[in-house]
């Protein structure tokens, strides 16, 4: 390549991705990185427009058009598979009639360094490409670490939720905790009473005064139930407005009936939320494990539910012992048969 050695050296160091063209458009000089990208024999003396096309700012096919772009950014395509686009700028010189084109990969440099196995020495010392590659890699590593942390936290959260035993709104136990307590009591052959409590008119409170009022009522109800039961009893919120009280060491009706009466009485009084009286009541169905020959959690819960349904049916705000319900049914059956 015919080129002044001093200029060539300067350009090689300062702009390793440069090309020098003569007035005919013939390549007369190329920086070391350009020589690495292309076969040197292919570049030397080749016509610029045979290897490259210029698409932006507009299509340019001759030297006159190319020289006119001096000082503004141009986009140069070269035919590879896939075709790659370089950005660059053209200045006249170094010799009269020549132009020098300095090129860069732009944002596609991340792929280009892989494809051409470029090293830090292929870029000018002042070029920030290597710093950018460092950042891309460092940020990806940091993002990956964060992603893994998020994944582990998500797993831990799901696990914690699964193991949670508390109802967040009321601070009572949840259904899961109640199931565990009941199973435990039955398997150790304890005598228990199981009360299924459903609030009456709760939906009206929600509909009339909003969910904040509903939440407040549920919290008040929870407080009442805690106050009216013993510390050894389990009070759980098992649904939107459904509660279960598991009473320990109970063989007879006396205690659950008394507790239920007090709960019903206290919940009969309106609960005031932001000046509005919220009127609810409680319907209760109760079973005793002592009434079963082989008490079973599912069976007891089903029977308590049936007794609760009976309380609702009979006009709400009352308790039904499932044993009484059975006796009543037996009497009706016997009466019918007589």
């Amino acid at each position: 390549m015919t080129q002044s050695p001093v200029f060539q050296q300067m350009l090689d160091v300062l702009c390793p991705m440069h090309l020098v063209l003569d007035c005919e458009g013939q390549i007369v000089g190329a920086g070391p990185t350009m020589r690495k990208l292309f076969d040197e024999a292919m570049l030397s003396g080749a016509a610029f427009f045979d290897i490259f096309t210029i698409r932006r700012p507009r299509e340019i096919t001759d030297m006159q058009g190319l020289c006119a772009t001096a000082g503004t950014r141009i986009y140069v395509m070269y035919r590879t598979d896939p075709p790659r686009e370089l950005k660059g700028i053209l200045v006249p010189g170094p010799e009269k009639g020549q132009v020098t084109l300095n090129l860069s990969f732009g944002i596609s440099v991340v792929e280009a360094v892989q494809e051409y196995e470029l090293t830090a020495r292929d870029f000018a010392v002042t070029d920030l490409t290597v710093e950018m590659l460092y950042l891309v890699e460092a940020k990806s590593a940091a993002m990956e670490a964060s992603r893994q942390l998020n994944e582990r936290l998500q797993d831990a959260r799901e696990e914690a939720e699964e193991q949670a035993v508390t109802d967040v709104l009321t601070g009572l136990k949840n259904r899961r905790a109640m199931d565990i307590d009941l199973e435990r009591a039955l398997s150790s052959l304890e005598d228990v009473a199981l009360m299924h409590i459903d609030l009456d008119y709760f939906k009206d409170v929600n509909d009339t005064f909003g969910h904040a009022a509903g939440d407040f009522v549920l919290q008040e109800v929870a407080r009442v139930m805690k106050e009216e039961t013993r510390s050894t009893d389990t009070v759980a919120r098992v649904g939107g407005d459904e509660f279960v009280v598991l009473m320990r060491n109970v063989r007879e009706n006396t205690v659950p009936v008394r507790v239920a009466e007090r709960i019903i009485k206290r919940l009969d009084a309106p609960i005031t939320f932001e000046g509005h009286p919220c009127q609810i009541s409680a319907s209760i169905g109760t079973v005793l494990s002592a009434d079963y020959t082989a008490p079973d959690a599912d069976h007891m819960l089903r029977d308590a539910d049936e007794a609760l349904y009976h309380s609702k049916h009979e006009g709400r705000g009352r308790q039904t012992m499932h044993a009484d319900l059975l006796a009543q049914q037996a009497a009706t059956d016997a009466g019918g048969a007589a």
Binding site: E117, L118, T119, V130, L133, Y134, E137, A141, S146
Partner: protein, 195 residues
Amino acid sequence: MHGLVNRAIQRFVTDCYGEAQWRAAIKRADVGVTEFEAMLTYEEELTTQVLTAVSDVLDRPYEELMEDIGTYLVSHPNVEALRRLLRFSGVDFTDFLHSLDDLPDRARLAVSDLELPRITLKEQGTGYYRLSVQSRIPGAGHLFTGVLRAMADDYGALVFLEHQGSENGAEIVGVSLLETEFSEGRGFHLGARAG
């Protein structure tokens, strides 16, 4: 202290000595955690407590342990990503040495709340440098001795390193660069990503 630092200590112990030794060390440290998360922040004192416990459990002098951790960070395949990030700093070992002053800033660019020791490199004569390392973790100079030794191997340079004690709260490491192209070193491609 940033979780990345504590996590690095944990990985060093598990990768080089096994899970059981880590469990023994973290139990001995009694710091209320059993594992470190890389992207969380922990109490400052915890790091030194863990390092002391590791030194006790492995029955290694503290200074040697720190140097081993430094070597591990550069040369173990499980932390290849870190070696790559360090190699971005310089085209050869001399270039790398001169970039060490920028290390804390480089680290902060990647992880904004990561604080690395302040490092100052002074050239004392041809091929002889004096590195001062200022850190809240005692033994950081020993750790950097390990890092530099491994990085010299990585670049294929022959160096003589010597921890020269402390001065004004900073640890001093003497670096004699005997030969820059002593061996082939390990390859480094800008575009190759560590898995």
